[in-house]
Amino acid sequence: MATVDQKYVLSSIPQAYRRPRRREEGARWGLALSLAACLFLHQSVRGENRPLQNQGTVSNAQAGEKESPPKAPLFLIESITVLNAERTPREILVSESRLKIGEAYSEAQLRDAVYRIVRLPFLLDAEFSLRKGSIRGSYELVVSVTETRQWFFGADYDGFWAENPGNSPEYDNGLGLLAGRRFFLGRRGVLSASTSSEDGVIQVGYTHYDLFNRNALLTVRAATSLCEGFNQSGTDVCLAGIVDTFTETRQSTSDFLSFDAGLAVPLWGNHSLQITASNTDSEIRFRAPDGFTVSQRDVWSLGLSWAFNSLDDPVFPTQGKVLITTVGRSELREKSRINGLPTSLGSFTVNSGDSSSLSSSAQKYWSSSRRTSFSVRVNGSVGHQESESTNVFGDDISSNTDFYSAGLTLGHALSLFRAAPSKPFNELRWENTLNTSWRDRSGSNSLLSGSNAGFSLTTGLRYRTTWGVFSLNLSYVDPEI
């Protein structure tokens, strides 16, 4: 049978469809360029989503015949069909694929698109296949998905040994439980409500996909612990029914009300620009020798990030990269009431501080065999903080602090069990992590200056089903971390 040269296919495609909209990309790229620190990281991933160029021919190889190397074939997407999505709206899946009807994509671009869909929190897996379109050379893209359940649960047991100078390492542990449910609202909205055992947090979030038909994503979230407050025995009862009690290693409790909002604007391929804002109003109760210190704290933070994400899975990644660079600004206002002080002293302290920071992290996953994968993550941040405080003596103290931090994390994961694609989804992994970090602070207040370094070693099991993710982790922690 005669073969069809891909040139023929492309000749049937209107010129406007042949390449992504370069003008729009240029404008978006201009925004990204303003993040100077991103440039270096961007260079390392630029090739993963190259524009469609120098591609588009398939040669008919004949033995003994000289030929030029074959180029990756392009697939003109005429329509997108979604299968097995009982709850997930088609619009969300198409939006998150970032594929445009009428444009041609290489297999590498389609693979990135299927990974973007798999990374949605309400999906477990996705596959692409093609069908013939209505005109020769065009294709119907079929997206077949595996969904999570609407109810989701999680359980995390964390046990850790921490060095205790002069004594043997101390062991502490905690069990965190999570339960929630997701509701799809309309064609592009997802509402989720959940509660977790840690501090009795209840949170409600809404995410709107494909904002303004630009594949942008807007998410808002409110969370609160809704606790009644502490009593003198150090017990705190929260709305979720959680009794929070001071222990030797737990010297504080808090309840809070927080609001978060985030806007993610896709740039091209796996790149996106993200803007986040959050406000947390909290009351923190510290154990003190004579009663408790109660702090009212109000924190605002804003962040602008450039992100690149090409992971093949959000929970059990085996390949891909995540790069994030964030410029952040935060403001803190805090007023503390200290009980049990002599009457000659005031009973309040006031703190306020503003900080600006630039932080970056880069993480890469790769597989060394069918079951084994490794990861490496480097991160660093620089920042400046200006703070003013009034102590119980009525003295005003101001300080300027520069802070720096860096970290290196090495990971290893061994897939112990994964159900066949035709069976109900479940997967178990053994994960090991070595985390090292270094911090340094220097400034006008010598009490706040200094540097430290430390490490932690963690081993654990993580299990994922259609219901959620469950993990068991054991760590050794250097106390300086």
Binding site: A2, N60, A63, K66, E107, E127, Q319, L416, P421
Partner: protein, 235 residues
């Protein structure tokens, strides 16, 4: 607070679970009904896999073959270290069904670094081609396992073409393809036309890298054991 010693069993349990865990269910299959493939030596310096078991009929494989997108068959060959030292090799086969032309495009890239492409018009032709496929797994001049050593052969079935995974691999792939395209006799059968001494050593490096360095999450895998035939000796 718990005593640290009390949790040592938890760590032991974690390690034990990992150690005794079964192979990935659904991710690894023994050879289906078609039996074992064969290993043979070509030209005295190339270990070649032939007599391919008919895994194309396997449910997970056949489902991917007709998606219109490339399905990659990543071959790995390894002998045990205790017998004549560990020898590793590999190869890659890519199959894509072109829906409009109704043909299967195949590319075989073995350890000889030479891509061999075929175009097959029916599923029956594809099956015949697969049965007759000869895949160069190991260059014996670089590393020769002992004769009669047991070798394991694994094939991972991976969606999408691995050839364009990233820039580096794309460059390697193109380089190898260029090397292949400039040769007058690209097929394994025509190797006799070329002297081993004139073979481009870089081409060998490319072949090794491409065939063995691409790892990805497989939808399913197959594994066999085969004996290395006599005559595989280090020059």
């Amino acid at each position: 607070m718990m005593n640290g010693k009390g949790s040592i069993p938890a760590i032991v349990l974690t390690g034990l679970l990992a150690w005794i865990s079964p192979p990935l269910a659904g991710d690894e299959s023994q050879a289906p009904e078609a039996g074992n493939p064969n290993l043979e030596i070509v030209e005295g310096d190339l270990l070649v896999l032939s007599g391919m078991p008919m895994i194309l009929n396997h449910e997970e494989v056949s489902r991917h073959l007709t998606t219109g997108l490339t399905t990659t068959f990543a071959f790995r060959f390894e002998t045990a270290a205790k017998v004549g030292g560990k020898a590793r090799g590999g190869a890659r086969v890519e199959i894509r069904y072109e829906l409009w032309d109704e043909v299967f495009h195949t590319v075989t890239l073995g350890m000889d670094g030479r891509p061999v492409r075929h175009q097959l018009t029916t599923l029956e032709e594809l099956h015949t081609w697969w049965r007759e496929l000869r895949v160069p797994l190991l260059d014996l001049r670089a590393r020769a396992p002992a004769s009669n050593a047991n070798g394991s052969i694994e094939i991972d079935i991976v969606p999408f073409s691995k050839a364009e995974r990233d820039d580096t691999q794309r460059w390697l792939y193109d380089s190898a393809l260029r090397a292949g395209s400039t040769a007058q006799s690209p097929s394994l059968e025509d190797r006799a036309d070329r002297s081993p001494t004139t073979r481009n050593s870089l081409e060998q490096v490319f072949g090794v890298l491409i065939a063995t360095s691409l790892r990805s999450r497989a939808v399913t895998s197959f594994r066999w054991q085969a004996k290395v035939p006599a005559g595989a000796t280090t020059p």
